[in-house]
Amino acid sequence: MTLTPTHEPPSDEILREVALTRDEYHFAADLLDRPPNPVELGIIGGMWSEHCGYKHSRPLLSRLPSEGPRVLIGPGEENAGAVDIGHGLAIVMKVESHNHPSAVEPFQGAATGVGGILRDIFTMGARPIALLDSLRFGPLDDRRGRYLANGIVGGIGWYGNCMGVPTVGGEVQVSASYRGNPLVNAMCVGLIEHDQLTSAAASGAGNELILVGADTGRDGIHGATFASVDDPEASHRGVVQVGNPFMEKLLLEACLEVLQTTDAILGLQDLGATGLTSSSVESAGRGGTGVVLNLEHVARRAAGMTPYEVMLSESQERMLVVAARGRAHEVQRVFDKWGLHSDVIGEVTETGLLDVRDNGQSAATLPITMLTDAPTYTYPVERPAYLDEVGPLDLDALPEPDDPTSAFLQLLASPNIASRRPIYRQYDHMVGANTVIAPGGDAALLRIKGTPLAVALSTDGNGRTTYLDPFVGGAAAIAESARNVSCTGARPLAFTNCLNFGSPEQSAAYYQLSQAIDGMAAAARALETPVISGNVSLYNESGGEAIWPTPVVGMLGVLDELDRRCGAGFTADGDEIAVLGAGRPRLDGSEYLSVAHGRVAGCPDINLVDEVAVQRLVRELIIARLLSSAHDCSDGGLAVALAESAFAGGLGVQAPDLPILGRLDEALFGESQSRIVVSYPPLAAAAVAAAAATHSVPITPVGKVGGDRLCIGPIDVSLAHAEQVWSQGLELALAGHAPPG
């Protein structure tokens, strides 16, 4: 097939298909000094998409702090970031979205999201040790909402369970804002020795490029550009890929075996969005080289595929390997052992060009730097008018609850508060034999075999808070994920993030993105946790409405001695319960305000000085073995936090004389940042109080652990009944039944 350059400018329809604006087309033609041919146009469109090129977010992302003494590999350098955890070991991690595919085909969309993030980790040479999933669903009283939610959870479990990588954490929130545009952010964490870290750079002219794994088919073409346009539901099904976790398990084992048994691999890169295009371009970009690809050597799943389709296919479970010249056979021998098909499809050059050939004929010739440096956009940051409407909360107009116990039970049954067990019991969270704190606690805790170390992992992000105040929401995502990590005793070290926002071309969404990044940057500096990797998902909207701006943070912490850890559940009758922290509970942006009054309003806030102090204090108390339990006080406020610690420990709460300053609903259900519910033996009380005073952190006694009831101020209910309501809330909602009474 001969491709002749088009001298006619492409139609609007073609430009829409490759997701380029007419200005971008002219810019590309100017850079090339000629019009791009159709294959080149598709390649440029893919590489300049938001998904690959970060054209709207790159200028903003640079505001996040990314340096620290523990950072081995920072954001953008490789497929994932890496952090030193001591003992010569590193943690490699990243979170990535698969929102748009999951909106169309939830099971496969979510499954392939997990598959993609796993490949990002083992391309680094690291063995994946944990997965976490941050999910946002539309209302579950809606049939399609349940179809999406159950499909997404099923797909995550199917892929991760088969891979044998435990899914140890994540979060789920339900809101009308995500109707039609659910969020699926998958995070993977890998473990590796420092000197085994593998690059994704294609360096050294003459080195060979091997494509290994699944055959290349027509599935997923334009997945990257699809992820960068509005309204996925209006798009077609062919863009969603179908996963094969068994193939990926073979790829994982084979790649790690080659890396451990030979030094023939110089670089490893997975094929993700835009498939062969971005994998070859990004590898060459990192190496400062060029590549020649001979497409006739690419094994096909379908007959008659064009160079355009081969270059842009997003068939899953494929990897590009850079093997030392003349040593491809050493690598391919291991792939053969694992039953994997592989082909040498090209080589590294010094030309600085992506040189695509099909049976000897040139199909595309583009400078690598042109493709890796997508044009960037900045817009004026203008405060949107809606903030003035949702901000003020007139408390005098809100009646206090007549029956605090029934208000409490209603909150426990909310899909945003109820037990997550109906979801995480579908995930293998134990495989790997490292899970010390399983899902359901504040952060997951995994031991590192052969060392005294453990790593703590948490994902967090609150769309409602970010909608009400994007700066506070961004800061709170960092603060809460770090607080969860600190509640195990681990010290937060670094984070990865996924920014889920609406179209940046809309001024409100751009303002939210800019402000949320500023908030994240402020909190990350205060907590000394640099960003090491991340992903941006823009254009999350359907029917013209943007989702709530939802920054998701995946935080890593390290506990130097596994034996000095703490859980969220109460452990002993008679222990004293107290709240650490200066945060003043308020109804602004709270779950209670939403559940009891159907309102999303108020001005949430955060004080980063208080946040740093309370986290430092709780870690110091845990390391000194003074605490029996520590649990972040977040959604649902103090009453819910006490209940969660009670359920986890199977012990009641005696706090009838809970101090109540001001409104009852604020004291019970009000939310704030920077508060932690702790319990400790009476003998430790003096030492706990002294440490709190040293750190200038207020400590508020609440009551005692014990009995078989939850007595929290005026709330009085049996532990068993409250736990049943809490246990069934999400399970019934996912099954389409009314909440328990």
Binding site: K249, L250, G339, Q426, M430
Partner: protein
């Protein structure tokens, strides 16, 4: 004691099992590759959990026909212990080394959670050091653990004391709530006529260290060590 953990493509509890056998129990444990046709002289063969061949066709169906299964059969025929855990149990069923089959869990979902098992027979190498009726707390992680067998086969299992484990409550009582997958007669594990081949759905290798939430799985390993020394 020498033990081999068989690695099939898609096995994913192989490393955990090897870790426990070697580092926790102190056996001399190594891997055996599915494509091999011989098995060194070992005292114990373990078929680990996972998704051999991606669970494609039927769980365990392809692994049951792997070359390594020939020496595994020989090992079993000599009366030496074979333990199949989760997918390993499914492989033993497909290989015909144990009777019955697995259906999808009655919840239709994958389930990963702690369960309680009652030791129903101590006349196997996997339970010889356990107490009769002893309750063990072990986790499950499977989508297809709903054991079925025809009425005659079930009667034979009863008559020959070949039900090794049943799902029970924490107190040791049988109840529908304690059965996590709908398995017939609450069966969690069985043995062959020779009593040396045992299959079980729960994962003892995940409950052999206190920091992972429990050590009841050690009863199985300690039985195997004791049986080998007897």
């Amino acid at each position: 004691m020498n033990a081999a953990v068989v690695v099939f493509p898609g096995s994913n509890c192989d490393a955990d099992t090897l870790h426990v056998l070697g580092n926790v129990v102190g056996m001399n444990a190594r891997y055996a590759w599915h494509a091999d046709t011989t098995l060194d002289d070992v005292d114990l063969v373990v078929l680990p959990g996972g998704f051999s061949h991606g669970d494609y066709l039927r769980t365990g169906a392809m692994a049951a026909r792997a070359p390594i299964m020939s020496p595994v059969r020989d090992h079993a025929a000599r009366g030496r212990p074979v333990l199949g855990i989760c997918n390993g149990f499914q492989i033993l069923l497909e290989a015909g080394l144990l009777p019955g089959a697995m259906l999808l869990n009655d919840s239709t979902q994958f389930r990963c959670e702690w369960t309680h098992l009652r030791v129903e027979s101590t006349h196997t190498p996997c339970t010889s050091a356990a107490g009769n009726g002893q309750v063990l707390r072990l986790p499950i992680a499977h989508a297809e653990g709903n054991y079925v067998i025809d009425p005659d086969g079930l009667a034979q299992l009863h008559d020959e004391d070949r039900v090794v484990f049943r799902y029970v409550s924490a107190s040791g009582a049988r109840s529908p709530d304690a059965n996590p997958n709908g398995a017939i007669d609450d069966i969690a594990g069985i043995c062959n006529v020779g009593r040396n081949v045992v299959g079980m759905m729960p994962h003892p290798e995940r409950a052999s260290e206190a920091e992972l939430g429990g050590e009841d799985g050690r009863a199985i390993w300690e039985s195997l060590v004791a049986a080998a020394g007897a």
